[in-house]
Point group: C2
Chain length 336, copies 2
C-alpha cells in the first residue's frame, strides 16, 4: 500500500509535511510517495536524516496556492503536486492520497481525476469532532456549498459506512443540523432534507441543534457545506477565545502561574481532546479513491495522524463499505 | 419610562423573571410592568419581600409555550403575556418590552403589533458577542430564516446605529460572515449580499470567516438568521464542551483540585467574559419600539442585565438613531 502525499500543500509546506511523513514511516511503517519540488524535498529529507527506501519522490513542477480559485487552477496547472498525486492514485488503483493544500482544488481535482462512486452526485468533506461522549462525524464541512437534499442523503449513507468501518461504531445515529428540533424548523432546504432523510432507510434520529453539536447526541451530523464550514470554523474561534482568556488569566499573578503549572498536564489533556490534529485529516467522501484533506495549518503531528487515518481507511476498505450502503440506500421516489 | 416584562417567558419563568425584575428595580430604579398570571406573580413578589410601587402587574390569561409554533400561537392567543405586553408598549408610545419566552412568537407578535421602522422589511435579532478585543454585534441570529440580501443591508444600517449609540463605538466596522475572505466565496446569496454591501454607503470591510467571529476583527458581523443561529448555538456548545473538560480535569486529583481552588477567581472571570447573561438580552432590530429578547435559559442575572440594556436603549433613543441611518442608507439601484 502506498500513501501519496502532496508535499507542497499547507501553510507550512513542505517542511511540516516532510516532517510528518518521516514520523509516519517510522511509526506506522507505511510506504510514501511525495509529490512536489524534488530539490526541496530531498534537502528536507536529508535534514531529517532520512535515508530509507520507504519514501520516494515523484517530482512535480507546479504548485496550487492556498487561496487560488479552485476550478481555474486545477484546469490550468495540470502538473501540480495535487493533480499529479491524484493521477498516481488512480494509476495505482489502491492506496490513498493526502493533501493539506488548497481544499477546493483537492475536491475539484479528486472529482475530475477519480470520478465519483456510483450513487453519489457530489463529494463531501467529513470531519471527526470531539464531543462530551464519543467522537462524532460531521459532513459536509465545505465541499458542497450549493447542496441539494439528495446530496445530504448520500452523505448519510457514506458517513454511516465510514463510522462503522473507521470509527468502530455499531449502529451510528444520524442527525441533521438545524435551528430547532421540530421537523417544521429551518429553511425550505433543511425541511426538504429532513423529509427525505426520514423517508429513507437510514438511522435518522431527527434535527440536532448547534448547541448539541459537541454534546455527543448522535454519531453523524449532516449539513450543507456552507453551514458546516461556518460551524467548524466558529468552533475553532470559540476555542481560541477561551484559550486566550485562560492564558491571560493563568499568567496574571505569581499565584495563578504556580497553580497553572500544577495543572499543566490537565491543561494539556484538555487541549489534546479539542485538538483537530489528534484526529488526523478529513476524509473526502464520495470520490472513487481514498482522499484525505488536511487543515491548511496542519502541524507535522496532524500530517502524521492523517497518514495513520489514510492507512486505516485503506486497510478497512472503507470505500467498499460505502459502495455497499449506497447500493442499499432507499431514495424516496419523488427524489429519484 | 416603563419597562414591560413578559413574566411568563423563559424556561424558568415566572420565578427567575420576577427575581430579575426585583433586582433591576433595586439596582437601576426602573419602573416595571409585569404581564402574566397575577396570582403567581403576586405570590413571587411577596416571597421576594417586594412591597414597593415600582412594579405593577398587568394580568394576562394566556401563555405561549416555548416550543409552540410562533405564528399560529400569536394568532390564536391574543391574550398572551407576550401580545398583551407588546400592545401596552404600543399604547405607552415609549419604554421597552422584554421577554425570555418563545423567540419566534416575540418576533412575530412584535412585528404585527408595533410594525416595522420605515426602510426595514424584516426584523433581525442582534447579539453582543465577547471577542479577544472589544465586544462585537452579530445580526441576525434567528429572526429571519429566509433572508434576502437587502434585509442584510438594512441590518447593517441598524447595527451601525445600535453600536454607536449603545456600545459606544465611534465608526463601527462591518463584516459579512462567510466561508472565506474573497468576494467570490460562498453561496449565491452571500455573494449577492457582498456586492450589495460593498456598493452601499456603509463601513463594510468584507467577509469574515467563522474562526474570526470571536477575534474582534470587526464591530458588526452580518449573516442570515439560519447561519447566525447555528453559529451562536455552536459557540455555546463548544464553550460547554471545554468547561466540561475543565471540570473533569480540574477535579481529577487532589493536586488539581487545590490548584483549581487557587485559580477560582481567574476561572470565574473567564466564565464571566464568555457568559451571555452578562451582556443582557438580544435587541430585536427593526420593529417600531424597543424590544429585547432573552435566552430561554435566562437566569435572574440575565433578566436583570437585559432590563439594564432596555433602559439604556430607551435613554439613548436607539430607534431614532436607526431611523437616521436607515434614511441615509444608499440602496444600490438594482435592489431598490
Amino acid at each position: 500500500m502506498k500513501i501519496i502525499i502532496d508535499a507542497m500543500g499547507g501553510d507550512h509546506a513542505p517542511e511540516v509535511v516532510i516532517e510528518g511523513a518521516v514520523a509516519a514511516v517510522k511509526e506506522y511503517g507505511v510506504d510514501i510517495i511525495l509529490t512536489g519540488d524534488e530539490t526541496r524535498i530531498k534537502g528536507l529529507l536529508a535534514r531529517k536524516h532520512y535515508t530509507g527506501d520507504k519514501i520516494t519522490i515523484h517530482p512535480t513542477t507546479e504548485i496550487i496556492g492556498m487561496s487560488e480559485p479552485a476550478a481555474v487552477s486545477v484546469r490550468k496547472k495540470r502538473h501540480s503536486s495535487i493533480s499529479v498525486g491524484l493521477n498516481l492514485l488512480k494509476e495505482n488503483g489502491q492506496g490513498a492520497f493526502f493533501s493539506a493544500g488548497n481544499t477546493g482544488a483537492v475536491v475539484c481535482a479528486a472529482t475530475l481525476t477519480l470520478g465519483l462512486l456510483p450513487g453519489v452526485e457530489r463529494p463531501g468533506i467529513a470531519i471527526v469532532c470531539p464531543t462530551l461522549k464519543e467522537v462524532s462525524l460531521m459532513v459536509d464541512v465545505g465541499a458542497n456549498i450549493d447542496a441539494k437534499p439528495l446530496h445530504i442523503l448520500q452523505y448519510a449513507a457514506m458517513a454511516d459506512a465510514y463510522s462503522r468501518s473507521v470509527l468502530n461504531k455499531v449502529k451510528p445515529t444520524i442527525g441533521l443540523l438545524n435551528i430547532g428540533e421540530e421537523a417544521t424548523k429551518g429553511t425550505d432546504f433543511v425541511k426538504e432534507t429532513y423529509n427525505l432523510l426520514s423517508q429513507s432507510n437510514i438511522n435518522f434520529i431527527g434535527n440536532i441543534e448547534g448547541k448539541d453539536l459537541f454534546a455527543g447526541k448522535c454519531d453523524i451530523i449532516l449539513c450543507d457545506g456552507f453551514v458546516g464550514n461556518i460551524a467548524l470554523k466558529v468552533s475553532e474561534g470559540v476555542a481560541a477565545l477561551i484559550y486566550g482568556l485562560i492564558k491571560t488569566e493563568f499568567t496574571a499573578t505569581f499565584m495563578s502561574m504556580v497553580a497553572a503549572f500544577l495543572l499543566r498536564s490537565n491543561l494539556k489533556r484538555i487541549r489534546k481532546a479539542m485538538d483537530y490534529s489528534e484526529y488526523g485529516g478529513a476524509p473526502l467522501l464520495g470520490v472513487n479513491g481514498i482522499v484525505i484533506i488536511g487543515h491548511g495549518r496542519s502541524s507535522s503531528k496532524a500530517i502524521k495522524n492523517a497518514i495513520r487515518v489514510a492507512k486505516e481507511e485503506v486497510e478497512r476498505n472503507v470505500n467498499a463499505g460505502m459502495l455497499d450502503t449506497l447500493s442499499k440506500l432507499k431514495v424516496p421516489s419523488q427524489q429519484a
